[in-house]
């Protein structure tokens, strides 16, 4: 099989041989698994790498070179080119800059020209290259008749479409329906109109599992029209988030993070202050100065109290003194700050909260005069008259009523995401002509008569608008690998255009927004830039209508609630087959390869469940079994579960029951209902007595009392934090947290000539969003090891994000986040213990790992105090050798060695990027500019928390960061002289809530002063 060409699969896939492969694929892999255990995910594909059998027998294989016959102008073999494009999630575009190597996309980065992300990118974007080359993607047109699967080709479908649509045209498409994933593409809208003109009776439904309908409804309620709020955190001194993850899950998260972080540098102007009231622990809650855990159902209650207090203060009344309850204090502080900072504050409420609350928040913002300053409104292009769930129900009903002949499903996977009370699954099978366009043959495809392969975002022309409305254009970076067609192409086909040219369609659609004089030139400019500058949505200034007076509801007792949320790893499940994302540990729970019922410690105690015990969640009759994860800081009586898991037809990674691969996690959508898409009270919970081991990358086992105590004592030294007030009084507090004798070596230390590479990470800005971790994985060919190996704590991430809970209150702890990667110690402990000198120092101070010299004694890892070295216990890259998975190998970065088993590996400061720049600089004989070398993690960081550069050059940003009073090195007392400095985290609590300064770190001031000279670290 491996002799077959991938591009020629479309010819191949109709042969019985191919069918046979599809089914043989898994068993072959299974038999290779070292412990002979079947139904493992990546391990099964990895298998035993027989050390004694080379790729081509026992001899060196001779590499052939095959250059392109006519090399396109401007392309030099092996020199990467960057193309602007975008990816669209929930109808909002994230503009990207994709690095192509010889015309193959290998790395995704944010588009620096995009006003939204300015070069940073999300984990989803980072993982797009992996999904592009996913061997499990649908390879061709497929027809299903009475349960049997026939491989067809596009011609066959066109013929079919003619007949079906021919009939549809008769009755104006009265029985024709389209169910589409939401999109902001102008091209699609054009075609949609064309379609409507062609089939006037046909109906078009938009559906997404991550709907923002509440926001639409809220603004409609408040303003009488649907508008989109835009937040400007750079102007906001006070940010209040009500069940809203403004920094990461919000569609403009990266913009928000950047602006928020810009206001978190205590040395540069006034710091902002952020409050979060939320049920589950979000990234925002983790970054907030004050966090109030509250059930989602109680948000209304707290909002009402906040309103009351704010009104009172606005009315000039002296507010009644806050009660002793923490909640009271926080609300009081919030109200005080909001009123004190009118016009420089903002309140944001989550899309999961009902319309009334949305409206009242609009009102409150208006009253506080924030509108037009920190908040501006614009038209909402995505607004639909029908809520997503509503649309889905309506369609289902129509089908049940037999009024649907033909159903075209454009993208999405409704059969999987549909809430439990909408029985789309059984309905679909009733549709005589159902057509699904999707990248994978997923749950929906299995129920449809026809499956059409959809092109990957990197294979197609397209256009869309980002959250602020900026027009983005996608250009294809590679010919479709799987004979796919894009959404617009299929639509064009449905509109009768047999051979649509996507390029022209898109160009036609965006023409309107281009300079009419030089259309071609400005189109080329648009394609080149990826974004159209100044095409953001123009602001509107709606006025809030009088709202029904807020009735002060009481917090609804002890009742359990269930909160559904879109997974930060696999989104609505569409990324379920991405090993990178599945293995990305959730930034708080650290869970990989699973979703769990996240419960507060208090609640867990009350219910008598603990970490790992499997419970049955029962919500109006329907039930689902999930393992428990006890998360400090989770709101009491609130249980949150991530959507997007339990895919049954995702692929060999995400689960594929047909091929006997267990799903990852459980699909909680079954408990969703049209009424309760986001959260629902009245949850019942039953113990099953079963146990399930969750694969988590931190606290691999429940920490005993001894350990817990020690951690509590250590965290203050590892992640150094202080309140703003303390920082002001004592800026270099971080340098005196640990005490140790003067650091002197027994020998003369060598000094470094030339550049001295170094890094700095600002813990005040870092929100632990994992973007850096996945970016590193993509850049450095970091392998995925699978759930079973994560359980054995053998995950390979070069850059991990450590999470520590601080404070004494387990129900509302602080969280300290610390990205941990190789610190490139100048006196590296790992080097001296390696018997074969496989890890040595360069004259630029890099701690090099020489893979082909490493014999794998693992001594270096033992001696690494940061435990950032990773070992290849098996051949974790075996997957690329499997003929059926070979396509996956295209994702590998040619600049980075793929490590074999038995070899140690670790962060290299992206040495390949350093070298690339050095070579360029050398060629044009110029010094390297500061900021010219950008590591993958630094590139991805939306908070700009990471700086990298030459420490020798005082003007470089990283040198300045190292010079900052806040800078400190973790475990510097070991005299290993790390090249990576951390900037201590500064919190800006409200005075009334601030803890006494001395708790900021280990000990009191006097003490620090006392041994100040002695403890001063060399820097």
């Amino acid at each position: 099989m491996d002799k077959k060409y991938w591009r020629s699969l479309n010819e191949l896939h109709s042969t019985p041989g191919f069918e046979e492969i599809l089914h043989r694929e898994f068993p072959v892999a299974a038999s290779e698994y070292p412990e002979g255990v079947s139904r493992r995910r990546w391990m099964q594909l990895m298998g035993a790498s027989v050390a004694l059998a080379g790729v081509s027998g026992c001899r060196w294989e001779d590499e052939k070179i095959s250059p392109s016959v006519s090399r396109p102008e401007g392309r030099i073999p092996g020199v990467p080119q960057k193309y602007a494009t975008f990816m669209e999630l929930g109808g909002l575009a994230e503009s990207l800059l994709v690095t192509c190597y010889d015309g193959r996309p290998i790395k995704v980065e944010g588009n620096p020209d995009s006003p939204q992300n300015q070069g940073s990118s999300t984990v989803f974007a980072q993982s797009e290259t992996l999904s592009l080359y996913d061997p499990d993607r649908a390879v061709g047109v497929v027809e299903r008749k009475e349960g049997t699967r026939y491989a067809r080709d596009w011609q066959a479908f066109l013929d079919y479409a003619d007949t079906v649509l021919g009939q549809a045209r008769q009755d104006g498409g009265a029985k024709l329906r389209v169910l589409a994933d939401v999109s902001s593409s102008a091209t699609r809208r054009n075609l949609q109109e064309k379609f409507a003109a062609l089939y006037p009776q046909a109906r078009w439904y938009d559906y997404t599992a991550n709907s923002r309908d509440n926001i639409y409804a809220g603004s409609k309620l408040a303003f009488g029209e649907v508008v989109r709020p835009h937040f400007d955190l750079s102007k906001a001194n006070i940010v209040v988030c009500l069940d809203e993850d403004l920094l990461s899950e919000h569609s403009a998260g990266m913009l928000h993070t950047r602006e928020w972080a810009a206001r978190r540098d205590p040395a540069a102007g006034e710091m902002n202050r952020m409050y979060a009231v939320e049920s589950r622990f979000t990234t925002t809650g983790l970054a907030a100065d004050h966090r109030l855990p509250s059930r989602s159902v109680d948000i209304g209650f707290y909002l009402a109290r906040l309103e009351a207090q704010v009104q009172a203060r606005l009315a000039g009344k002296t507010p009644e003194p806050a009660g002793d309850e923490y909640a009271d204090k926080v609300l009081a502080a919030m109200a005080e700050d909001l009123v004190a900072n009118q016009g420089a504050a903002l309140i944001a409420i989550g899309a999961n909260q009902p319309a009334e609350l949305q409206a009242r928040v609009h009102k409150l913002n208006e009253q506080l005069g924030n509108v037009g300053k920190t908040i501006r409104y614009s038209k909402e292009p995505l607004a639909t008259d029908l809520a997503a769930a509503e649309a889905l129900r309506k369609l289902t009903d129509e089908i049940q009523a037999g009024s649907v002949e033909t159903l075209v499903i454009l993208g999405g996977n409704p059969a999987y995401n549909a809430p439990g009370d909408i029985d789309l699954v059984s309905a679909l099978s009733k549709v005589p002509h159902s057509i699904h366009l999707g990248e994978y043959e997923d749950e929906t495809s299995l129920l449809c008569k026809w499956h059409l392969p959809k092109t990957h975002p990197f294979e197609q022309w397209g256009d869309a608008r980002s959250y602020d409305g900026t027009l983005c254009v996608a250009q294809p970076l590679i010919e479709p690998l799987h004979d796919g067609k894009s959404e617009v192409e299929l639509l064009a086909i449905l509109c009768g255009d047999k051979h649509p040219v996507a390029l022209d369609l898109v160009k036609e659609a965006v023409k309107g927004s281009l300079d009419s004089m030089t259309v071609n030139a400005s189109w080329r400019r648009l394609v080149h830039d990826g974004v159209l500058k100044g095409s953001a949505l123009e602001a509107v200034s709606p006025k809030v209508k009088s709202l029904p007076a807020a009735k002060l509801t009481e917090a609804a007792g002890e009742e359990l609630e269930l909160v559904f949320y879109i997974s930060p790893q696999v989104y609505d499940g569409r990324f379920a087959n991405s090993g990178w994302l599945q293995e990305t540990p959730d930034n708080l729970t650290k869970i990989t390869w699973d979703n769990a019922a996240i419960i507060a410690p208090a609640t867990a105690k009350k219910l008598g469940v603990e970490f790992g015990s499997v419970v049955k969640l029962i919500l109006d009759g329907k039930s689902i079994e999930l393992p428990v994860y006890v998360l400090p800081g989770q709101a009491p009586n609130s249980i949150s579960v991530a959507l997007g898991y339990g895919r049954t037809a995702a692929g060999l990674v995400g689960g594929d029951v047909a091929r006997d691969v267990k799903p990852v996690g459980e699909n909680i959508a079954a408990l969703q209902s049209k009424a309760a898409m986001n959260f629902a009270a009245g949850l019942k919970l039953e113990k099953t007595g079963k146990e399930y081991e969750l694969a988590i990358t931190q606290d691999h086992h429940s920490i005993d009392a001894v350990g817990a105590g020690e951690i509590h004592g250590r965290v203050g030294q590892l992640v150094r934090e202080a309140n703003l007030s303390e920082y002001k009084s004592h800026p270099d507090f971080a340098k005196h947290v640990t005490h140790h004798p003067p650091l002197e070596s027994l020998w003369e230390e060598l000094s470094y000539e030339g550049q001295a590479w170094g890094m700095s990470i600002d813990l005040t800005k870092c929100i632990g969003c994992n973007a850096c971790s996945v970016a590193c994985q993509a850049e450095n060919n970091v392998p995925v090891v699978g759930r079973e190996q994560v359980l054995k704590s053998r995950e390979m991430h070069w850059l991990r994000v450590d999470r520590y809970f601080t404070g004494d209150d387990v129900d509302n702890p602080g969280v300290s986040i610390q990205p941990m990667l190789c610190q490139q110690c100048e006196l590296a402990p790992c080097e001296q213990v390696c018997p074969v000198a496989a890890t040595v120092h360069t004259d630029e101070g890099l701690n090099d790992m020489v893979y082909n010299r490493c014999v794998g004694t693992r001594y270096c890892a033992n001696n690494c105090p940061y435990k950032v070295r990773r070992f290849n216990y098996f051949n974790f890259n075996k997957v690329y050798e499997d003929p059926n998975r070979k396509l996956q190998a295209l994702v590998l970065n040619p600049e980075v060695t793929v490590r074999h088993r038995g070899v140690m590996e670790k962060c290299t400061y992206c040495v390949q990027r350093i070298k690339a720049v050095q070579i360029d600089a050398k060629n044009d004989q110029r010094p390297i500019k500061d900021g010219e070398i950008v590591t993958a993690c630094q590139q991805a960081c939306s908070a700009k928390a990471i700086e990298f550069g030459d420490l020798k050059n005082e003007k470089s940003l990283v040198a300045q960061a190292h010079a900052s009073p806040r800078s400190y090195a973790v475990l510097s007392e070991l005299n290993i002289k790390p090249r990576t400095a951390y900037l201590a985290r500064i919190l800006n609590p409200h005075p009334s809530l601030a803890k006494p300064d001395s708790e900021g770190h280990g000990h009191g001031e006097a003490h620090a002063e006392a041994d100040h000279p002695k403890t001063a670290e060399k820097h």
């Binding site: 059998a53 095959s66 015309g103 030139a521 080149h528 830039d529 060598l750 590296a828 080097e831 120092h841």
Partner: protein, 458 residues
């Protein structure tokens, strides 16, 4: 024992008497006897005991062994080797930076130095002992004596060597008997020298052959050449699943890892509309974009077809060529260089011209490059002689058109757009213009000095 003496002789080779063997059953008796033998002044004699007998050394007057000195010497050698090795290997031959530590430091050397000294001393002691004792000595005439077998068990022997000056068969025999041993016997040399058993010989020689094989193979391999690639048992990281540039792969039907550009896509840094003259050699882009990419096809073919054309006026080839030519002529070529013309640019142009163009067009641009000349020699029918720059119609071409020709090629000339960046193309055009100028100048107009200079600078 008498029997042994009167033993009838079968072979001509006389078995010769090697010495006498006296057996005792009491160590003390042996010691006493030894004293007597020593005093009797015998030199070549020895005693044999099952265990080291205390006091026998004095009794026999054995001299102190030099073994300790050998051991000491070995120990010193070991230590020196160790230090030398560590210094040379880590500090001289292949130094590397380790934890910022000095390349060589004594403390780190101590363990290995100690170990090697001990190792070599131990060898010294063991092998030294063997050598001094002349062991291994598997064959020993004494072993023929039945009685002597107990020498390693519970009996004690005095062996007297016949080669001893004082030795005489009779007297020595009596003398030994006088020491009241259990008995005295003689031991004789073999009639013919002892033979190893045949199959043992075979076995040994077989082992020898097998041992010789590997070095022989190595020697053979080192001295011969082969076409098959080296043997490589463990692939390790030498075969990478990643695709390096210009690799082959079976994933794509063209077998190439390189993917073609997709029409209409524009990578970063290749937005050309902001400087059309530079990138296209045109004043502005015509609406019909494709024209820009035209490379003139072979007009020669068209010429050959001329007569035919007369009969069939509409000759597609001719038309195509003609049409394209006319299209190109219509384009708004720039006549001025789109960038400042400098000395540096001229130098660059000369250099590039010599690298890329001179091979065909010749250093002077007459179209007499080496490649061209050779092609002419071989009378390659398909070869089109490169145009000389010094013809009228080339002279009058605008610079933009020249630039375009370099970029997209013309007739047999391939496109150089991919290989030569735009700035260099312009530099070449500049040098080309200079060449043309140089041909128009009348030599007499040049001042002598200049001429001389030109002659010197070839």
């Amino acid at each position: 024992m008498a029997t042994t003496i009167e033993q009838p002789v079968k072979t001509k080779a006389e078995p010769e008497l090697l010495g006498l063997l006296a057996e005792f059953d009491d160590p003390n008796a042996l010691i006493e006897a030894s004293k007597k033998v020593r005093d009797a002044g015998y030199q070549k004699w020895d005693t044999h005991t099952p265990f080291p007998l205390h006091g026998i050394d004095e009794a026999m007057g054995i001299k102190w062994t030099i073994l300790p000195w050998i051991v000491a010497a070995c120990g010193l050698t070991g230590g020196t080797i160790a230090i030398g090795m560590q210094y040379w290997m880590n500090a001289v031959n292949y130094p590397f930076l380790i934890s910022g530590k000095p390349l060589f430091s004594i403390p780190a050397c101590i363990p290995i130095t100690f170990e090697l000294s001990v190792l070599l001393s131990a060898f010294g002691a063991f092998f030294g002992m063997l050598v001094l004792n002349q062991l291994p000595k598997l064959y020993n005439p004494l072993f023929k004596s039945e009685a002597f077998r107990r020498a390693t068990n519970d009996r004690f022997f005095i062996s007297m060597d016949a080669r001893d000056a004082k030795f005489s068969e009779i007297d020595s025999g009596e003398f030994l008997n006088s020491l009241n041993p259990v008995n005295v016997e003689e031991f004789w040399s073999d009639v013919e020298s002892p033979k190893l058993p045949r199959n043992l010989k075979l076995a040994l020689s077989l082992v020898g052959v097998i041992l010789l094989m590997p070095p022989a193979l190595v020697a053979y391999k080192r001295s011969t050449t082969t076409n098959s690639p080296r043997i490589h048992i463990v692939p390790d990281m030498d075969f990478q699943p990643k695709l390096k540039t210009q690799n082959t792969t079976n994933l794509f039907s063209d077998g190439r890892e390189i993917r073609p550009n997709i029409k209409g896509t524009i990578p970063r840094g290749q937005f050309k509309d902001d400087n059309i003259p530079l990138y296209f050699g045109l004043k502005y882009l015509p609406e019909d974009q494709d024209v820009v990419g035209i490379a003139l096809q072979d007009e020669k073919k068209a010429d050959e077809k001329q007569p035919a054309a007369a009969e069939k006026p509409a000759d597609p080839v001719l038309d195509a060529a003609a049409i394209e030519a006319s299209k190109l002529d219509k384009l708004p070529w720039v006549t001025e260089f789109p960038m400042p013309v400098t000395e540096k640019m001229m130098a660059r142009g000369k250099e590039r011209y010599r690298i890329y163009c001179s091979a065909c067009h010749g250093l002077g641009g007459e179209g007499d490059g080496l490649v061209s000349l050779r092609a002419m020699d071989l009378q390659q029918g398909t070869w089109v002689k490169p145009a000389s720059y010094h013809t009228e119609n080339v002279r009058k071409l605008p610079v933009g058109r020249l630039y375009h020709t370099i970029t997209n090629g013309v007739r047999k000339m391939p496109a150089y757009g991919a290989q030569v960046p735009p700035e260099d193309r312009w530099a070449i055009v500049l040098y080309l213009r200079a060449l043309q100028k140089s041909h128009e100048i009348n030599a007499d107009t040049i001042p002598e000095a200049e001429k001389r200079k030109l002659r010197d600078t070839k």
